[in-house]
């Protein structure tokens, strides 16, 4: 029997420009979870007992030893890591989207300046602190952004991941180049 080797979207070198690094993230299992109407509390309990996380509110994420769950839109979230339990599947629509998503991590002191060139989101830590998630546009591509320690994670549909990486790399180059310009002193 033929054995197929799983291939990640976006394999390749980590990109570095100035203080910035862009690397790919191995997500493992990605499950889209959307509670049935009226089942939000039941889903939260099922998640709590299976993965030690409650269902995230708008713009929130949760993390436990089992994995992560990221709010990804109205009444939906992405469960990263664990397989959903039968109890979760009873109160929510559950779809395996493991091969549908690709994720990148952009780190560095000017990570927010890079993304500010591409997305209309307010990325200041006061508005988008660590652990927050947001659906928005990056260029013309729909993305899910997550604020992490010293940077951001960018989740994108696999088919558009090369486009997004290219957009980000171009913005990284410009941002890094600007930082080399000596500041004029008045």
């Amino acid at each position: 029997m033929t054995v197929l080797t799983p291939q990640r979207a976006l394999d390749g070198q980590e990109l570095r420009h100035g203080n910035l690094q862009l690397s790919t993230v191995a997500l493992g299992r990605v499950t889209w979870v959307a509670p049935y109407p009226g089942e939000e509390t039941a889903l939260s309990h099922a998640l709590q007992s299976a993965c030690s996380m409650s269902f995230p509110g708008p713009g929130e994420s949760r993390e436990s030893t089992a994995g992560r769950i990221l709010w990804s839109g109205r009444a939906q979230a992405l469960l990263i890591g664990p397989h959903p339990s039968a109890a979760i599947e009873k109160c929510a629509a559950v779809v395996d989207q493991t091969d549908g998503w690709a994720a990148m991590r952009l780190g560095g002191a000017s990570a927010a300046q890079v993304l500010a060139r591409l997305t209309p989101l307010d990325l200041r830590p006061s508005h988008f602190p660590r652990g927050r998630t947001a659906r928005s546009l990056l260029g013309h591509v729909p993305v899910l952004l997550v604020a992490i320690e010293n940077g951001f994670e960018i989740f994108v549909m696999r088919s558009m991941s090369e486009t997004v990486r290219h957009e980000i790399e171009t913005a990284m180059r410009s941002t890094a180049a600007r930082e080399k310009i000596p500041t004029a002193h008045a």
């Binding site: 708008p58 713009g59 839109g73 109205r74 209309p120 989101l121 947001a134 928005s136 546009l137 729909p142």
Partner: protein
């Protein structure tokens, strides 16, 4: 122009798509007369001032919103989830 999505916070116009007057949330009863259905389908006010419109946060959370906007100033004074109004 920023639209205050109840789920996402104040967001840029480019994440949204407009769908016209919010009157479409209130369908006439099945048995309503032809006049009521004609109004619902075809007749719209053209207000110079405050208006209520449906906007879709398609590049954000995916929710439909009822947005209060002033057509003279483009000032957006509020937004709520359409599901709340449709369920009422």
């Amino acid at each position: 122009m920023l639209i205050p999505c109840p789920l996402c916070g104040a967001r840029d116009l480019r994440e949204f798509t407009p769908k016209g007057a919010a009157v479409t949330l209130h369908r006439p009863d099945v048995g309503a007369g032809l006049d009521a259905w004609n109004d619902y389908l075809h007749l719209r006010d053209n207000p110079a001032g405050p208006t209520r419109e449906l906007w879709w946060h398609g590049s954000g959370c995916g929710a439909w919103l009822v947005v209060e906007r002033n057509t003279l100033t483009h000032e957006v004074s509020g937004a709520r989830l359409a599901e709340e109004e449709a369920g009422a």
